[in-house]
Amino acid sequence: MEEAQVVGLLVRRCVGGDAAAWEEIVQRYHRRIYNVCYRFAGDSDNAQDLTQEVFIKMYRTLSTYDAGKGAFMTWVTTITRNLLVDHFRKSKGDRITDSLDSAPSEREDAQPLSEQIADRALPPDAAVQSRETGEMVHLALQKLSPELREAVILRDLQDMDYREIATALRVPEGTVKSRINRGRAELARLLQRTYRQVM
């Protein structure tokens, strides 16, 4: 049986009141949702709370899921994303204006080209082996704006395709691609700057 069929069946059983089916859904998706929340919110406590909220919301709205209108994972991602938006607004809505005012990317572009090229001598894949580097990438991710952060998380960490991401975020595919590229580039610049300070 295909994944979509299995999930469709689980959802039907669950709507019919089958607790085991619901547990199966939780077992299947909690790791993925937790990871999205962890990479987005930055810490385990918030990620746990958010993951739990996602499942509470899922449980309440499971009967509205229509398999004919898209993959279950896209539906789940939409719920997750909406809760992340709420979480972001609640926790640091006031910082949005700060980030807009400082317009950091203009300064990034003002960096001399020679410097930018020198930065790129860094070997990312070799360094990423270490746990410390993983933590640094995780921290750099937290510095991205939420729009760029969610886009790269869904694409590069969750491996969703552009169309699915566009559906979940309710923006055109072109916007998704642009955000992903800006997010990746911004992250690389942040990490290069960090490495320059550390070394």
């Binding site: 709507v15 019919g16 009141g17 085991a20 939780v26 909690h30 790791r31 937790y34 810490d43 385990s44 406590d45 709370d49 993951t51 909220e53 509470i56 309440r60 709205t61 499971l62 509205t64 899921y65 229509d66 004919g68 898209g70 539906w75 719920i79 909406n82 938006v85 979480h87 972001f88 640091k92 809505g93 949005i96 807009l100 950091p104 930018q116 790129r120 990312p124 894949d125 990423v128 933590e135 990438v137 995780h138 921290l139 510095k143 991205l144 939420p146 590069d156 960490l157 309710r170 691609k177 590229n181 800006r182 997010g183 990746r184 580039a185 911004e186 992250l187 690389a188 990490l191 960090t194």
Partner: protein, 266 residues
């Protein structure tokens, strides 16, 4: 960005092709002009390199393992049916406190024993070892054995037998007491559950949603992080604020969401 045409590709067009290029989805002809533009353009070349480096950093990030009690908490907060499948680790005697303790220990041991051989570093191994040691010392101290007593232990067989019987009686008493505490605890939990009904099942909610045929989760349309989303939001890094490789300094101090989650569910 100057909109120059180099090798038949404009800079704006180049940007739009970056994703496809990274995933090797450009036609040979398109790829050739894309590569040519990348080599000569002082803006697009570095941009491409940044995007590529960022992608590599991100893809190298490993998945994190959620805490062991997360599924338990989710089920408790939704269906109320905590588990329908047999679980080795959670056999009814493990309290949420025990689980939290276990996680703390897991993360501590994972970082402390990092240079040791891989199998020893396994949190499960360290945990089991730790628990054996813990239970052993607990049993000993419950039985009234103190470390200084070991110095004057009488090793004659008859004395040993006597000490063994004496200790066994005390341990049995101790575990009887413990069992009594657990029984009380589970009764309290049952009472609690009886008084606070779990989330109504999905089918009960269905009635309220007859008009919702969208197949999408109940939500406000087009949610964005910013209330005024007309302005482009770029990365939010304040001037001269580098990321330090120290976790607690860099982590965004998001206040915990005020919702009805029960991370500390009993």
């Amino acid at each position: 960005m100057p909109d120059e045409i180099k090798h038949g590709v404009e800079c704006t067009e180049f940007e739009a092709l970056v994703s496809d290029a990274l995933e090797g989805r450009l036609s040979p002809a398109r790829k050739e002009s894309f590569e040519a533009h990348r080599r000569v353009c002082g803006v697009c070349g570095p941009l491409f390199a940044d995007v590529q480096a960022g992608q590599q950093w991100l893809r190298a990030l490993e998945q994190v393992e959620p805490p062991a009690h997360l599924v338990h908490n989710i089920l408790a907060a939704t269906s109320g049916v905590v588990s329908t499948r047999p679980q080795v680790a959670r056999d009814g005697r493990t309290t949420p406190f025990g689980e939290r303790l276990r996680e703390r220990w897991d993360s501590f041991s994972a970082s402390f024993f990092r240079p040791v051989a891989a199998f020893v570093r396994q949190p499960r191994f360290v945990m089991s070892f730790g628990m054996i040691f813990f239970s052993f010392s607990l049993a000993l101290s419950a039985a009234g054995v103190k470390p200084k007593d070991l110095a004057k232990v009488d090793l004659r067989p008859s004395a040993l037998r006597h000490a063994y019987n004496d200790t066994q009686i005390r341990i049995v008493k101790y575990y009887d007491n413990i069992r009594f505490v657990y029984e009380i605890e589970s009764k309290v939990r049952e009472l609690k559950r009886a008084n606070t009904p779990a989330e109504p099942g999905p089918q009960e909610q269905k009635e309220n949603r007859k008009n919702n045929t969208s197949g999408q989760p109940d939500q406000r349309q087009d949610r964005n992080y910013s209330q005024e989303y007309n302005q482009p939001v770029l990365a939010a890094l304040r001037a001269g604020a580098p990321i330090t490789p120290v976790l607690h300094n860099g982590v965004v101090d998001a206040s915990p969401a005020a919702v009805t989650t029960n991370r500390r569910f009993v």
